[in-house]
Symmetry: none
Subunit: 190 residues, 4 copies
């Protein structure tokens, strides 16, 4: 990915996150990237292709981030904690990408079906960690697939939290709290 393409890629994430897919205009993306409109079409066949490229690259990046760190641990509970922490902090670091995903996951257009497939693949990937946790006895036995979704829900809630409340101060604390809720629940043990 050369400089121009990278610049378009980053600008598109910014604009898509602010305006949604249909609200984002090629003019806005071009202007944000500091290139002419025609240049977008030199590097991408269409607006939809920019979108798909973003999704593909973004999901790849997340997967790599997780694998890099998780591979260092051999304790499965640690791995799961790392998995959660990384995703939770990515919500902050790649907030624009998350907004694009979360706003575009709901419709019935082809690009949205593909996005859903990508998200489902990611959730299945985290599911495999949970199943290893069940085998090792550190995660409660149960519907690992649904559990993986619950975990994804926590990511979502964090994204919404970040969206509505701009408090960036206590990021680490926030992440630890969320992690605790998901692992141990919110109900007081009797």
């Amino acid at each position: 990915m050369n400089d121009t393409k990278k610049s378009i890629f980053e600008s598109a994430i910014k604009i898509f996150s602010k305006c949604g897919y249909n609200g984002a205009t090629m003019d806005a993306i071009a202007s944000e990237a500091g290139v002419a409109k025609g240049t977008l079409y030199y590097h991408f066949k269409s607006k939809e292709e920019i979108f798909n490229f973003i999704v593909r690259e973004g999901m790849e990046l997340i997967k790599n981030s997780i694998e890099d760190v998780a591979s260092e641990k051999d304790n499965i509970l640690c791995k799961i904690k790392v998995l959660c922490r990384i995703q939770l902090s990515l919500v902050y670091e790649s907030r624009d990408f998350f907004k694009v995903v979360m706003s575009q996951i709901w419709g019935e257009e082809l690009r949205q079906l593909e996005l859903r497939a990508a998200i489902n693949k990611h959730i299945c990937y985290t599911q495999s960690y949970l199943e290893e946790g069940m085998d090792k006895g550190v995660i409660k036995r149960g519907d690992s697939y649904l559990m993986a979704y619950t975990l994804f829900g926590t990511i979502c809630s964090t994204a919404v939290y970040e969206l509505i409340n701009d408090d960036k101060g206590s990021l680490d604390q926030l992440i630890e709290r969320q992690l605790k809720y998901i692992l141990e629940g919110i109900q007081e043990r009797k």
Copy 2:
């Protein structure tokens, strides 16, 4: 709200949920409602007004549903459980409304800021339940605001689950599982 307006209202939810705000066309809404395009403008000033009307009515409905049932219970843990169950089942019953909210919450347009405010208000409302739970010693002491978001996240995850997996069979079971995860966590107690 007369029949025509109601028909437009329901069609608009359907179209907004399928296409997003910008992707939805007045043509599509009119055609879904079985009326002429001009009729939309007889009942609503603009597309944005249809959207705002939907959000207002929808949030009102949810709040009423919760209050109706919660008022019957006097045990706060029961109230919280009911609160969760109702919202989780609403994800299924009003799935189109949820899609509209979830897809439109992320941008910076005026209508989106207003939507966020409405959602935040709703979360604060559930927060008050959690605080009562803390006072009564059934919910772990902690950041009740963040906890309310976590709860909202579970709603989100259920919505995404419903979106990707069409299994409608075991709805009650699903809800009970989600409820258990949020209350008791996913980690095995030692």
Copy 3:
């Protein structure tokens, strides 16, 4: 076909004939028709649909013109002469339509393949007249299909003649001459 649509239809023929299909712009057609660009799209789905509509209507018109007059004659040679005369005079009266056909018949786009099919159908239709002429002994026995093409070629030559030479004075004389060439040839009988 209401007034607006008719106006678009006629303007489009004019513009297509002057600029070709790709050279014609929707702006030019709209401006010629005295309507807004959006109005074109209210009546036709696309530029291509305008083109196809023109071809369909135009061929229909020609066929009707021929049938109307030919049905009055019972002598087959008279019918064939009428067939030729009508087409030759149509070259002048509907010169813009002919230019559209002649300029667009050559490519490999879908609309052009359809146009070719329409032209071929028309040629086959004139072929049936020639075959009747052969049966009645007034037309030389031979390849009636190729002969029908030769007849079409005379139409073409007249169109090119009209294009290059603006002499409109002696239209009837011109037609009679062309008719004589095609029926009796240009070579001096020995």
Copy 4:
């Protein structure tokens, strides 16, 4: 004309014939020629210049072909027959060039007016053969200019025939038939 320029020249004919002038893109021509787009502009000033170059070269070639063969005969009827035969077979051998001419002859752009002038010059050239035929008593006396157009029309009809029917088998037979029709007409002599 070096190899690169020749390759561009031939590719341009192919693309122009398939897409028309406005439909042909410099990208398509470059890709067909197997060179970069910039290379086109090294050899030609503009798209229009490529077009004009093609017309000039093509007309030159046709004239030379005719003169070469016609000069061998001294009988004028033979010359005229040769003239027809060569042009009719050129329709097959240089079909792409013919398509370019036939599709581009109709508009009002400068390049098209120039093309018409070139065609008219060619028709006047064949006219001079017909006049010699009239003087020698082998061609019917009459409007030699119109007659030359009729002859050109037969070329057109053959091109359309070739376009719609791919039967390449009986080329010589086809040409002889066309020649007969134009010389002797299609009507049965009584």
